[in-house]
């Protein structure tokens, strides 16, 4: 029962297929991969005055098809940490499940909370271990991790590349197929209006929804909000909260007043 790396969940479960850095010898087939692998599309994270806001569309695609239009892409890792997922849905959900267990396992075994730095490094490790699979053209995923840091009393946002490099951003991050199309727009908002970190929740939410709308216009795989309301969650000093659906519906209607979005279709 001795545990050489005490509190290490990956060691406990003896590795997860595709998550332990082992190269599989399955043949590479990009055509098949795109049909098999359901992808989440655009997610956005911005800092606002009291913390961090995450917004994402609800579409999940496989190849040219829409697999699901109510996908949850912003998930809680613990009481003060959100992960917004893009890329392979299967892999991302498995890794989210892995991370939640890994954090709780560490806390319960070691009788202390894993540090924020330890947690974001664990995300890096999961991405790095997934690299062999990603190189075979299947299962690549890129998350954005948002957290409220009680030590500095502010929201923090980390984004990653496909090899697991971790970057901390001062203002915003976006991932997924629509994200490249709107990256410049974030900077435009910061320069011409004001930094996101100075915005109220409502102001930041409005900008994010407009950005998501633009991403949906420019990227075929991004769902936007013409049918289903996007997912929006935040973290402040009290923990994670869901953005009020009525408030979001109101803003959506104002952004695009010609259409009765969200009003004709009851939104779940």
């Amino acid at each position: 029962m001795a545990n050489p790396r005490s509190g290490d969940f990956l060691e406990l479960v003896g590795g997860i297929p595709g998550l332990d850095g082992r190269v599989t010898d399955a043949p590479v087939s990009h055509g098949a991969a795109s049909q098999l692998d359901t992808h989440g599309t655009t997610v956005i994270a911005v800092k606002y005055r009291d913390g961090v806001l995450n917004v994402g569309d609800r579409r999940a695609t496989a190849g040219m098809g829409v697999m699901f239009d109510r996908a949850e892409k912003v998930l809680a890792l613990d009481d003060f940490m959100l992960i917004a997922i893009s890329g392979s849905f299967a892999k991302a959900l498995e890794i989210v499940r892995y991370l939640k267990h890994a954090f709780k396992y560490y806390t319960r075994r070691e009788l202390q909370e894993m540090s924020l730095d330890g947690k974001v490094s664990e995300v890096s490790r999961a991405i790095a271990n997934n690299l062999p699979m990603a190189l075979q053209g299947i299962g690549a995923f890129i998350p954005i991790v948002s957290a409220f840091d009680p030590r500095s009393n502010e929201g923090r946002i980390f984004f990653y590349d496909g090899m697991g490099a971790r970057f901390e951003t001062t203002e915003f991050a976006a991932a997924g197929s629509g994200s490249e199309r709107i990256r410049g727009a974030f900077d435009y908002i910061i320069r011409t209006r004001k930094p996101f970190r100075e915005m109220s929740l409502e102001e930041a939410l409005r900008e994010c929804l407009i950005l998501l709308d633009i991403a949906a216009d420019l990227d075929a795989a991004t769902g936007g909000f013409s049918k289903v309301l996007p997912v929006a969650k935040g973290i402040n000093k009290d923990g994670i909260f869901d953005v009020d659906a009525a408030q979001m519906r109101q803003i959506v209607a104002e952004i695009n007043p010609r259409e009765d979005v969200g009003l004709a279709n009851p939104v779940v």
Binding site: M1, L12, V13, A76, Y98, K104, Y105, T107, R108, R109
Partner: protein, 261 residues
């Protein structure tokens, strides 16, 4: 070396005596089910006694610190491996105690060539509804008891019985969390009273010594709480937090503690 059935019997007996002797003076753990969740109540001197095992499981024990730690870690390992590979819903106290820990303890206890576990543990599981709450009290010989509304582990089975009787008679009178903690403390004190009677100086018999009998549960609690710390773990039934477990703060325990100063 030959090993006869007689030797085996003798070895088991010696082991029981050894284990019970080691645990006799220890601090009991009391479990109580409430509408808001399940509580584990104990008093400690130095080491913490109540631990989170998994989303719906907590644990408190009496015995050797190293044995308690081994059990705690084994339980956490099983729960997390199972919860990840199958589902958190499949991690239950029944499975953990009945098919994982109990056989392992029994094996160690029955094997005269390994050290037995000096351990009795109380596992508490919170259900969706209060009627689904359950407690598993696991002994050093692998035997376990399953109860729904309350349970205990203490240094001896006699102490267990007195504590359980007290809980049985008063469980319907508790109305809220403070009254449940108070009942838990009274049960704890009852167990401690037994332990004190048993740990007598050599050559004196409890039944004949009237001086010791004078101590009441309340006196014992006053004395123990002056030196020790009340520890109450709550596993909440409904909470938006990721973890349902928390140790109650001293502010939350103050109303109960004030009665014993």
């Amino acid at each position: 070396m030959s090993f006869t059935p007689y030797d085996w019997n003798q070895a088991i007996l010696t082991r029981s005596e050894y284990i019970e002797e080691r645990m006799r003076g220890g601090s009991p753990v009391v479990g109580i089910s409430l509408p808001e969740g399940v509580l584990l109540v104990s008093v400690h001197r130095t080491q913490r006694k109540i631990y989170e095992i998994y989303d719906r499981l907590i644990f408190g024990a009496i015995g050797n610190q190293s044995d308690i730690e081994l059990m705690r870690n084994s339980a956490i390992d099983f729960a997390h491996r199972e919860g990840f590979q199958r589902s958190p819903d499949d991690v239950t106290a029944q499975r953990l105690v009945g098919s994982i820990l109990s056989p392992a303890i029994k094996k160690a206890f029955g094997d005269p060539f390994t050290a037995p576990f000096v351990f009795r543990g109380l596992f508490a599981e919170v259900g969706e509804k209060q009627t689904e709450d359950s407690f598993y009290a696991l002994g050093y010989d692998g035997e376990y008891r399953n109860e729904n509304r309350y349970s205990v582990v203490s240094g001896s089975y006699e102490a267990d019985n007195s504590m359980l009787t007290l809980l049985h008679d008063n469980i319907d009178l508790i109305s809220d969390r403070p009254s449940a903690i108070k009942l838990g403390l009274e049960a704890w004190g009852t167990g401690k009273l037994h332990a004190r009677r048993r740990v007598m100086p050599l050559g004196r018999d409890t039944e004949e010594d009237e001086e010791v009998e004078i101590l009441t549960v309340e006196q014992i609690l006053k004395e123990e709480l002056a030196h020790g710390k009340l520890e109450v773990g709550l596993l909440e039934r409904k909470t938006p937090r990721e973890s349902k477990f928390r140790l109650l703060s001293s502010d939350e325990l103050e109303p109960v503690l004030a009665e014993y100063r």
